[in-house]
């Protein structure tokens, strides 16, 4: 787990104990910004990972410049900021099973699914088989996914 210091981990454990029982809502984290340049992406990812401990349905959406967040081979050494991109691999471990990437946003930026990092989760209902986390969807599918969600958090 590479999401921060030990204190944050302890905090995360506390939240586990406090988690709500009963209500299950569909949380969708919408990421529209490039990974570097501002810290919205990094702090947005932190919310999603903490939120996954709450027994809610959690999905991630990447559109506009947000698709760059999942680009493989990120290297921040030249700008001297923290390269947190490896943290996206933790999404699968945190029970996030759906990561949607908008096809039109990829295409407009000259990207395809092959340019993205490979994210997987282990499916407990299927003998822990590793399955891909990323689903590339059209803008209209994305629209449906957004409208079917209960709580939207934009970063």
């Amino acid at each position: 787990m590479n999401i921060g210091n030990q204190q944050q981990f302890l905090q995360h454990q506390n939240l586990n104990e406090e988690r709500q029982s009963g209500i299950v809502k569909k949380f969708l984290y919408i990421n529209r910004r490039a990974p570097h340049g501002t810290n919205y992406a990094q702090e947005g990812l932190e919310v999603a990972l903490i939120g996954a401990a709450f027994d809610q349905e959690v999905a991630m959406a990447y559109l506009d410049d947000g698709v760059f967040q999942l680009k493989s081979g990120q290297d921040t050494r030249a700008i001297g900021t923290k390269n947190f991109s490896a943290t996206y691999r933790a999404l699968g471990d945190y029970d996030v099973k759906r990561v949607y990437v908008e096809r039109e946003s990829l295409e407009r930026r000259g990207l395809s699914e092959d340019d993205l990092m490979s994210l997987v989760y282990e499916d407990e209902d299927d003998d822990w088989e590793e399955k891909p986390l990323i689903h590339v969807v059209s803008a209209s599918e994305m629209q449906r996914i957004i409208s079917e969600s209960d709580v939207l958090l934009n970063f």
Binding site: G4, Q8, Q11, H12, N14, L15, E18, Q20, I23, K25, F27, N39, Y40, E43, E46, V47, I50, G51, A53, F54, Q56, V151, L152, L153, N154
Partner: protein
């Protein structure tokens, strides 16, 4: 209606911080419930009592503090975002060995779980950001 409010931008730089305040005050005046206001990203800077704007301008942290006093509003500053930006209460001061604290009256520092919990409990989570 049960609202929760998320403030993602700092004071004086971005209108999001003003709009969040005005929305919260209006909702309370109309008899709605605001179960929590959560400050994240640069929004944590709304919660420092050391802010000293010119006298002819609004005092954003004080305005929140007063609203919290009047309505027993729960103003929560994210601990991880606050640590990065130097927003500190007494407990954080001790734990991190700092020589001062600056949290404004009516604000408290807590974890991101408070945001998720607010999202679960509220009918609407309203975000004010860029």
């Amino acid at each position: 209606m049960k609202f929760a409010v998320l403030v993602n931008e700092g004071p004086y730089t971005h209108q999001a911080s003003d709009s969040a305040f005005q929305f919260t005050r209006a909702a309370l005046e109309l008899g709605h419930q605001v179960i929590r206001v959560f400050f994240y990203h640069d929004g944590v800077n709304n919660g420092t009592r050391l802010t000293t704007p010119p006298q002819d301008d609004r005092h954003i942290p004080n305005r929140w503090s007063e609203l919290a006093r009047e309505h027993e509003l729960d103003l929560v500053v994210c601990v991880a975002a606050a640590q990065r930006r130097g927003v500190v209460d007494e407990e954080e001061q001790k734990r991190n060995g700092k020589d001062a604290n600056n949290i404004a009256d009516g604000f408290r520092i807590s974890g991101l779980g408070q945001l998720i919990e607010a999202g679960i409990q509220a009918d609407r989570l309203v975000t004010f950001g860029d």
